[in-house]
Symmetry: C2
Subunit: 345 residues, 2 copies
């Protein structure tokens, strides 16, 4: 463990916690990870910029010694890795802690048992996933599938969230193309809300909400962006951010882990087209994407359906949004969809 | 109405909507304001920086012609305004639209009827509320009270959210110290969640959650920051952001509109101390604050209690947070409170 870490000002020295904690906001049931392990990273980001000189990029081929041992490597036909998964050096959660919970009636929490992994998306110093060939994206998606399967082995963990921060304004701390898995002992609130609402829809209608959704959007047409035999990409009617996209498999599937090799290949193509439209159409904006899939050991669910949310970060979020839960989107999704349809991928 | 507005790239021209819309995400009951009226503002922010040359600041005394007519002016003893409330020139909502709702079973929405007002916090070009004397803060709080009272007159409106964005990274578009009211036809989701949870606590315990909360925190001590006869300031146990603060009246009061002149004076002092500790202790960080109070015409509620949330914006929010609803706070609130207690206000 490190000694005290100065935070923003040298006089504020933070003592590292023995282990990260998950703490509950008692009123609104919102959980926060309190993790001093992230502090050094936060400070690095604050003092330097995110642009890392090439020779120092820990994700480039040749610099493998700068990361921990790989959890997974996917190779090309010459035996060189193309996608590499390593433990995050500044994880918000830790696997080597004893699970422990506490409550005094007001302050509820538990040790933040979990894992945080980085998916290095290519060996060369390329910053944009959209610039890689479709087969490379297919391998990245294959890495998600394998790491989601591996995550099921630890009975303490309940949910793996796969996400990507692309660009400094979207929270990327290194520019080399990468995404992450954060594997948690709880199902996150937003996913649980989706699960609960989708269950209610199923119970009322005997149909999956998402299976209905892409059909409704396909019929409406105005918010549709891409269509392939297995996948539908459209802009949600109540998208939070301009040009927000949703990518759905047309056939019902609750668990991304169960995606077939063929579907993975098609999805690599579709995701690349969507990201290239964003890149070319909006001048390479920062963005996040997030995979929502069923909980790790839920089994196949008839009411839930995995999907990928792509969130371009070209508008800010400020006091109004934090205080209300509303978002302000200045671009009607119908117009954004019409524009993006006209952009060559 | 303006002609088509280019968005980020000239080839993407957005046609202004006849009126802003409130749209519902059907699955998770999350509302989004789709408002092209905000587009020009978003673009201004993107192209220029937020620093406005002094002669062009619309909030400075002498430049009153650059804003619409004042909705409220509070004066000093020489008859010069000290605090001035004007309509926001780029409102996300509009008062001059006919209320109208629609649903086709999948796409629910309504016209975004409402008002957005700017509270100019001082006549001189001062960027920081913390640099103003306490009496000035008291007048700002008094302006909130008066505008909240005025908002009750429009029966179409249900909730007024008062918020402040301080610093460009916290979403401020002009540097002259100001805050805002956004008055909506619905109670926002986050406030409704607080209201519902507080009601359950009251129903189980016959006591207000917040009345209990400050006592619990006062007894615990470790997260307490400031204490005055009428107010308690502490750092929530599950704070989302480093040094997040909660300011509560000790005596039960659900509606900020009912704050007395004496309490308002004391709160000006307390808020100034809290903000100065933040400014001095963390090197003038960007921050948001948000006032949560009872809905406009709810009457006095035994189970709800107004409070002010102060959110320093020194850590980012990225894919993990957007996709999960978790936050990562790298500084334990107990340590942040100990440090801020040691900082002179």
């Amino acid at each position: 463990m490190q000694d005290e870490i100065p935070f923003h000002v040298p006089s504020f020295r933070v003592r590292p916690l023995p282990a990260p904690e998950l703490r509950k906001d008692l009123l609104v049931d919102r959980w926060v990870i309190v993790s001093t392990d992230r502090l050094s990273r936060a400070l690095e980001l604050h003092s330097a910029n995110t642009v890392t000189p090439l020779e120092a990029c820990p994700f480039c081929a040749g610099n493998e010694r700068m990361t921990s041992a790989a959890l997974l490597e996917l190779f090309d036909e010459h035996g060189r890795w193309r996608v590499r998964v390593v433990p995050n050096l500044y994880p918000a959660v830790r696997s080597n802690v004893v699970a422990q919970a506490w409550s005094d009636g007001w302050h509820d929490g538990c040790k933040a048992v979990g894992r945080q992994e980085v998916v290095v998306e290519c060996p060369q110093h390329e910053t944009s996933l959209a610039n890689l060939p479709a087969e490379q994206l297919t391998q990245v998606l294959g890495a998600y599938r394998e790491r989601l399967q591996a995550a099921q082995e630890d009975p303490r963990l309940a949910y793996a969230i796969v996400f990507k921060n692309s660009g400094a304004e979207a929270g990327a701390s290194l520019e080399h193309a990468h995404s992450q898995l954060l594997i948690l002992p709880q199902v996150p609130r937003i996913v649980q809300e989706e699960l609960d609402a989708a269950k209610r829809h199923f119970d009322s209608n005997s149909r999956c909400f998402f299976c209905d959704w892409w059909r409704v959007e396909q019929e409406a047409g105005v918010r549709q962006l891409l269509d392939s035999p297995r996948f539908s990409v459209f802009l949600p009617y109540a998208g939070r951010f301009p040009c927000e996209m949703c990518i759905l498999p047309k056939e019902h599937q609750s668990r991304f882990e169960e995606i077939s090799a063929e579907a993975c290949q098609e999805l690599g193509d579709v995701l690349r087209s969507a990201l290239r439209k964003l890149q070319r159409g909006l001048n390479d904006p920062p963005y996040n994407y997030i995979l929502h899939t069923a909980p790790l050991r839920s089994g196949a669910l008839p009411h839930y359906h995995w999907h990928l949310e792509v969130l371009p970060r070209i508008t800010g979020v400020a006091g109004f949004e934090w205080g209300s839960g509303y978002f302000i989107n200045p671009v009607p999704p119908e117009q954004a969809a019409a524009y993006l349809r006209s952009v060559q991928p």
